[in-house]
Symmetry: C4
Subunit: 228 residues, 4 copies
């Protein structure tokens, strides 16, 4: 299927270039813009799943108290998608070119993010019993799916040399560790749902905050030792 493109071997694999979302311009700008759009919409659609239902003779204040699980689930998922957005942004600043397989891997990530409103609603509706376990398991599995997609993007981009050249090996290792730890942690959080659903949910929040506020990877580029 490979299409010859000239007498000299190109710098990277020539196939799959046409659909490649900005590769010719040397940056994945429009893929980023599309992903931003999808994540901005997914985060805003979350509110559509918060319903305040008032039963006969019930005060609105009482109905709002009953809607607290939905409001809490809204806040948790808002945080998760916001941090996934920041993560996506940080990762794609390192990516120089995009090919079709990377585009598919990115679609997988976006599909997981867009899917999140559904388990969010389920954990709000099922707050105890075996259904709560099922709901939190699906929720954790969706987040683990996001973490898995990040790993696929990172590893594929490295293997195909789609990453900016000149990254520090230490930074590179930090990032690989970070993505693997992330996937393992979210997978553990998801499985924990079978035993202690609420602890599992709390763990996903802690994980998100740790990945945002915790230590950053080491410096990405080995700059000159004396910066002006």
């Amino acid at each position: 299927m490979a299409v010859p493109e000239g007498p000299f071997p190109p710098r990277s694999r020539p196939v799959h270039r046409w659909w490649s979302g900005g590769a010719d311009r040397g940056d994945p700008g429009r893929l980023e813009a599309f992903s931003d759009g999808v994540m901005a919409i997914a985060i805003t659609l979350l509110i559509l799943d918060v319903h305040v239902t008032q039963h006969d003779g019930q005060s609105l204040a009482h109905a709002l108290r009953e809607a607290l699980p939905e409001i809490l689930a809204y806040a948790v998922s808002f945080l998760q998608i916001g941090i996934i957005w920041a993560n996506h942004h940080a990762l794609f600043r390192l990516i120089q070119r995009v090919d079709q397989v990377l585009l598919l891997a990115n679609l997988l990530l976006l599909a997981c993010v867009s899917f999140l409103p559904l388990p969010t609603q389920l954990i709000a509706e099922h707050t105890h019993g075996s259904d709560a376990r099922t709901a939190v398991l699906l929720y954790g599995a969706t987040l683990a799916g996001c973490a898995f997609s990040f790993n696929v993007i990172w590893h594929y981009a490295n293997r195909q040399e789609l990453i900016l050249p000149g990254l520090s090996p230490l930074f590179h290792r930090d990032l690989t560790v970070r993505y693997r730890v992330g996937l393992a942690s979210y997978a553990v959080a998801a499985l924990l749902a079978l035993l202690l659903p609420w602890l599992s949910l709390a763990l996903t929040v802690v994980l998100a905050l740790v990945f945002l506020l915790g230590p950053s990877p080491r410096q990405a580029f080995q700059g000159p030792t004396t910066s002006s």
Copy 2:
């Protein structure tokens, strides 16, 4: 209706310039941004059609299993819109100017993409019998509508010289063939719905993946024979 704009004939038809979405800047940037927005929203709205309905005494796990057709339909349509987005991106990188008729043709494409959530929901709700055939037929017809719009955009842009100059004739022919084959294949897939709805649906997925991962057109620009 033509409005004279100077003593010399302009490089292209002078009418319809005012509304033309960026023509004066020489690039269709804002049309692309608007289209990106519409497709990002359409792809994210798909999740709103996935409903998990729990009947009395039914476990959530059981209800989720019953919702599997909806979740599968979500995944299939997510893939379709994602690949249509990539296709749109690749096509508009070749378009230099936009006029009003092209804008209308692009609106037709966006209308088909935005319409997709409706047949997606219908194929999820009707999984057998004649209603399944109707639903998959509508689904395939909507995708064929997208393929048709791509053909209209490509042929009109060529006739009106809205395409970047200097495209290789081989690339040009590859693209024309690709769009025609795409339209024919999706039309066949749609009609197949009358006989074997599930095979028809599977065919649309295969088609999308073939167009994304299959052979790219030959090189767009005839560069110098020796690239540095």
Copy 3:
């Protein structure tokens, strides 16, 4: 309330500068981006109002035929918002600076556009009798509200010298006429709803197409008489 900003009178009114959405950069770029977003979302949300309801024992094909008014209304409103977007784009290419009042006028336009899904649904649900008249009247009035907002933006931007300098007087007059004729025509179309609702609706479609495909204003800038 005026805040003095220097010993010399500035080129334009100094008040209201801070909130002014890009004025300091000399272009209304972010206002355009926000408006693009709102219009892209409004156009895509239209599909949420198309419902295919199947009564007991009814085939899906039959239910789809019954949903034809909704699908037609979807197509009409899609066209209207698409053309309003193109119009907005063409207008803001002429606007150099934005102040707070212009921002409010633009919000009025966006509010009318975002409101359109509601009357769209109403005309689909009420296809005959006095309710059809009410629905089409509201639909036409919303479009007339859009036309009114365009007039406000254009006249205010002129009075406050927010327009690019050097516009040809002929182009300027063409545009003023165009906006006034647009407002008058949509107002007539709205009032026609009281007599012939379906003709009123058809008229709004014709108007949209005439404004898109009909004669453009004369050349905006008086270029040199010989273009290279």
Copy 4:
């Protein structure tokens, strides 16, 4: 947790740089784009909460009159989000860099804005009695939450030196006063809901318009005394 990045102390805190949404490029562009997206979606979703319900034998005109509170609430919230967007735009033009804590504070603001459709619907559904007080209280509290987030962003960005250098001290003081007054006013408006819900709602509209159309802060940058 701090990661050393070179022999010289950097101009600002080195930790939390990786996730920081554009810090390396010196501008918070993609954070702005994401926020624009979220606010454009939230403002457009408002229409989904306007329902025109027709009871048996009731004319559509009558049902529309009954839906007036919802339509009014739509208009009020549209104005609020539109002005919050303008405010966000004005603020982020002053911000040079973004770190993770600022990203979290911005997420808090976006969460409040995205939450607004819920109390908007509640004030439309509950127009008198104690439920109206509850609804308007929640509405005012959400707006006060937005004002609070603006204060957090402004104060944190100042403390961490994320603001553009060279801001005039007078401008700086004006802005600090403006944000504090804004928070206090919205808090008062929210509490007023316990006594006079409709006056409280009217006050939030007046506040929004005063902040948009009222006096701007003094000049941000101390330019040369004679501007050409």
